[in-house]
Symmetry: C2
Subunit: 399 residues, 2 copies
Amino acid sequence: MRYAFADRVRHLQSSAVRDILKIVGKGDVISFAGGLPDDEMFPMKGIEEAFSRTFQSGKKSLQYAETEGYRPLREAIIERMARKGIKSYSADEMLLTTGSQQAIDLFSRIMLSPDDIVLTEDPTYLAALQVFKSYEAKVIAVDSDDDGMLPDDLEQKLKQYKPKCVYVVPTFSNPAGRVWSLERRKTLIDLVHKHNVVVFEDDPYGELQFLENETYTPLAALDDGTHVLYTSTFSKTAVPALRTGWIVGPYQVIRMMSQAKQANDLHSNSLAQQALYQLCRHFDLDGHIDHLIEVYKGRMEIMVKCLEEANVPGLKFVKPKGGMFLWLEVDESLDMAKLLPDAVSRGVAFVPGEPFYAGKPKKNTMRLNFTHATPEKIEKGITLLGELLKEVMAKQAVK
Amino acid sequence: MRYAFADRVRHLQSSAVRDILKIVGKGDVISFAGGLPDDEMFPMKGIEEAFSRTFQSGKKSLQYAETEGYRPLREAIIERMARKGIKSYSADEMLLTTGSQQAIDLFSRIMLSPDDIVLTEDPTYLAALQVFKSYEAKVIAVDSDDDGMLPDDLEQKLKQYKPKCVYVVPTFSNPAGRVWSLERRKTLIDLVHKHNVVVFEDDPYGELQFLENETYTPLAALDDGTHVLYTSTFSKTAVPALRTGWIVGPYQVIRMMSQAKQANDLHSNSLAQQALYQLCRHFDLDGHIDHLIEVYKGRMEIMVKCLEEANVPGLKFVKPKGGMFLWLEVDESLDMAKLLPDAVSRGVAFVPGEPFYAGKPKKNTMRLNFTHATPEKIEKGITLLGELLKEVMAKQAVK
């Protein structure tokens, strides 16, 4: 039988890259591809205790629950966010979601009609691009440098395209590892107020900050609660399997998202929400995050050192100030998607940069994750990658 | 600021009924409104042990996981379904979802373009209607009697409307508590094959069967795996808070849904999936379901007895053969939505029948849940409801 799918699934194509990486997950290849935290770092004991406390609270903990999510956890998150300067929201202006991915999806579902425009950085989070496209919206890239979107280009595109929203990952962006300057953040807020557009601030990595003395103020802390939707998650700071993220924003938008969530799944796993509440209250989550930072920063530095020692001509990157990713640019002659099968057969995997681009892709780019592999594997994997790149370039030089 | 929502959210309106019932949840009102199982019946010890076993399996249990869901649980569900005669599917043709609600939503997302047609029973599951409308599809009701859809009307509407799918709850339907006859099930399968349309079989209640000697064959057991999507859930048999449902169907459709799920939330809570797998393997789930049946059947019988004793003129219902709901029809002069505030102020709540209708609503209907309230509360609540109905009718007679 021929199944008559909806028009919108034309945009839901599985990529060749994804298919290769699915195979990688099962083999002995050293993978810098996934966006995975290190399993060994998971606070298993804290999580077990948190569940145990939740079960002790009684059988009601296993019943259907509110679409908006477990209120005490929402309140605990409001407290945590206040310490980062985000103070414009109450628990009524928050929705707990199945990871921050669902926050991106629900927001898009209530906001984007076909042919609506979303402005993004370039490159930007691949799976956000997929969501926008799945609602048949159009994505327009704003020119950026290492400090964030360029104000002139942003304003010109706000005027020209009248977008529905601006999607940004201003702190330790995925994939580029960028951090926006405070000035650019303020300019963005000014411009969206001027042009009456909302910003969707995706901040899954903000807590993984490597430089103690710097401050990266979230956009949500610079706004008055009217123009910014802010999402984050416990996936990188606690554990991914509980799939618990959140979003705060203007009440009207959150309420509409809540109605969409009711249609989508009634509510997310509420046992996990209750356990995470117990974790916030009875476990030293901040101490745990400090430990994560120490370990991940160490791995990032090993990766940087190995990349420098690999001595690959034309290789460029900016040392990450936090997060989970390092973005590499190699000689313009190289197409990293085409080199992926070769790399995998030699025992190392990465994500080619191409699918992260909303505009014209730079094919000579790739994203490397430094949080999942051990230091030994990072050394070995970067050596393999460096050898491959140098060999391919040497061959090209001969031609 | 005025937020420019997408066109599709015109269909996402919170209802007055929902708002009233939200208040009910917080007070002392006896509620027959929610579709809740009884907390006291939750197998807390089994669930705790299942989580404990999962934690013992190691830290990998807390990592990101496959979009399709934990494979051993999918395999365990395949085994359970085979005992009900559903044998056309492998674990590759299954997706684990956040409750069966997400299965309805993802199916609709990949299948329904604006103005596409879905055929349904009438009345039918309210939240499915909301999903179809949220994708701007049109819902057409097929004429039905107590045995299911009427074949002539079904075939006529398959021809006339060329629908994208037929949505049915053939066993202990929500809200009407109907059970389709085997003959009507077979006819439906024949007709959808003839007209090349898929059936979406929603079966959350099938395991809560009160009459031992009857057999209700799922549509999925009558099909060859090409025309039926079948969804069910652990929410009614184990616990709702884990939000774990599943869907099986043709590989092409499941694969497309899996891609949509990746955009929607990457994957559902995988710790819950692993715990439910342990529950299936190490806990007597069938024995537990037998116990649920005994208790819920007892409550249904008390509700039926109280309704008969209430002696309300014009009151009609069919005694449920399973599931969680009893569907009441009262005198034609009564509008149950209008009577709801009165009922709540007297201390009893129900869901008015109107929003369950895809076609012209019968306003003199309501849905009563018999699984959540204790026998004492059922007696008291039905007495209150009966008094209200008789008083209102007596007043009308005076006018």
